[in-house]
């Protein structure tokens, strides 16, 4: 139960941070005309193709007592970053970044450009156009981004193990807990935790997709033929 609660806390924190970072980043990736944009796109998508252990390894080095991030954290906050909940959050945010940014960018991209032209001709600047037109029409994409960030963080294993280790109550997430139980031949315990995670994930996804479908219908109903 402790591991499940820790995983949920981690997933909620990471989803909130990814939403805050992902929205402006996805907006920039969608609308920027900077020729070097592909470079940023490649960096954002990197966790999709990189084995979690590779990402976890480099993050562990960066967060270690001799790494740049670890040294900065030690001098600013008086403690290290590796094998802490905060370290886990930072690693998970980087690992799940494409799962938030890509659905957001896809939904921003799908908004009819004529609506943006209409907004600007009617006197709205970029921020108002974003808040009043782009964002409300991208709600399904925003929900997808939150769900994918949450689900991906909830199920992550390799990065967590590399950066967080296996400290009960601090970094032992539900996937590590299941792995631990299997290693010690406690199949009944592993099954109990796994079923709990399965049911929780299914209920959350059903609720979110149900809401998304409802919103999607309300927003995207086809217009009557002229």
């Amino acid at each position: 139960m402790e591991a499940l609660l820790l995983s949920i806390r981690l997933s909620l924190t990471v989803s909130a941070i990814l939403l805050a970072i992902g929205v402006p980043l996805a907006y920039w990736l969608t609308f920027s005309r900077w020729p070097g944009k592909f470079f940023v796109e490649a960096i954002v998508a990197l966790p999709l193709v990189l084995p979690p252990t590779v990402l976890g390894f480099y993050l562990l080095i960066a967060m270690g007592s001799n790494g740049p991030l670890g040294r900065f954290w030690q001098s600013t906050f008086g403690h290290g970053l590796a094998f802490t909940f905060t370290g886990l959050v930072i690693a998970s945010v980087l690992y799940s970044l494409p799962f938030a940014v890509q659905p957001l960018a896809a939904s921003f991209e799908s908004v009819d450009r004529k609506l943006l032209d209409a907004s600007t001709v009617l006197g709205a600047g970029r921020l108002r156009t974003f808040l009043r037109v782009i964002l409300p029409l991208s709600i399904p994409g925003v929900i997808s981004a939150i769900v994918l960030s949450f689900a991906h963080t909830l199920g992550e294993f390799g990065v967590v193990l590399m950066v967080g280790g296996n400290l009960a109550g601090t970094t032992r997430t539900v996937s590590i807990d299941i792995y631990d139980r299997v290693q010690s031949m406690d199949y009944a315990g592993a099954n109990q935790v796994a079923v709990g995670l399965l049911l929780f994930s299914f209920v959350v996804l059903s609720i979110v997709y149900g809401v998304n479908r409802h919103l999607g219908r309300r927003i995207w109903s086809p217009w009557p033929a002229k």
Partner: protein, 229 residues
């Protein structure tokens, strides 16, 4: 006073080369003056009619030229003046109408009035809803409106801001003649009071005849003829 020259409401001289952005070679090169009232912009597909309107609205940026409305310069490439679309105060009804699908008709119309107090907004909205006979549609979303109703809401949204110029890009495509006549009449009645230049792009001879006014014929980005009526 005899011999006094009235300054045109909209003056433009622009050269816009679309070739750098598109694969096809196309250059719009026009010089025009517009007085208050309707001017029909006529021409085949690809003549540059919508490009002309987009340049005036500030959605496209001519490489060379000057656009002035009254005493204000919207664009002057030599003087490095290029007002953003939101600063130009121009009404634009797109061919697709581009009504915001998640907003009611009232919210669509109120969108361009954010700078006004709520009392002023209400007064303007009520006035335009009555002028275009769409008061009963105020709480409906675009998907709940017929084609003609959507057209009226789009016109009301463009005019409620009291623009200095109105651009209409084939706004009545697909409507029956009776509806076109009725909407056209409401538009002309509105402009009897406002007296702004209206640039109306159309393919339809019937619409051109119903609106009257001057006609400008465009072909391959150039003016090939003009007809004062």
């Amino acid at each position: 006073m005899a011999g006094e020259m009235t300054k045109p409401a909209l003056v433009l001289r622009i050269q816009f080369d679309r070739s750098p952005q598109a694969n096809s070679k196309f250059v719009l090169d026009v010089q025009l003056e517009f007085d208050p009232g309707v001017t029909i912009i006529f021409g085949p597909s690809g003549a540059g009619k919508s490009t002309l309107l987009d340049c005036i609205a500030g959605l496209l940026h001519p490489q060379q030229g000057k656009i002035t409305v009254g005493d204000e310069t919207l664009l002057n490439t030599e003087g490095r003046v290029n007002l953003r679309p939101e600063q130009r105060h121009i009404g634009y009804v797109f061919q697709s109408l581009a009504l915001f699908p998640h907003m009611t008709a009232r919210d669509n119309i109120a969108y361009g009035l954010a700078h006004l107090t709520s009392e002023e907004q209400t007064q303007r909205i009520n006035e335009i809803l009555a002028a275009f006979d769409i008061d009963s549609l105020r709480s409906r979303k675009p998907r709940e409106l017929s084609g003609g109703e959507q057209q009226r809401v789009a016109l009301a949204r463009a005019l409620v801001t009291h623009p200095r110029v109105l651009l209409l890009d084939e706004p009545m495509t697909g409507l029956d003649d009776e509806l076109k006549t009725s909407i056209t009449q409401d538009l002309l009645t509105w402009n009897d009071r406002r007296k702004i230049p209206i640039l109306y792009v159309t393919h339809s001879h019937e619409e051109a005849a119903a609106l009257g006014g001057r006609m400008v014929f465009l072909k391959n980005g150039r003016i090939v003829d003009q007809l004062a009526r």
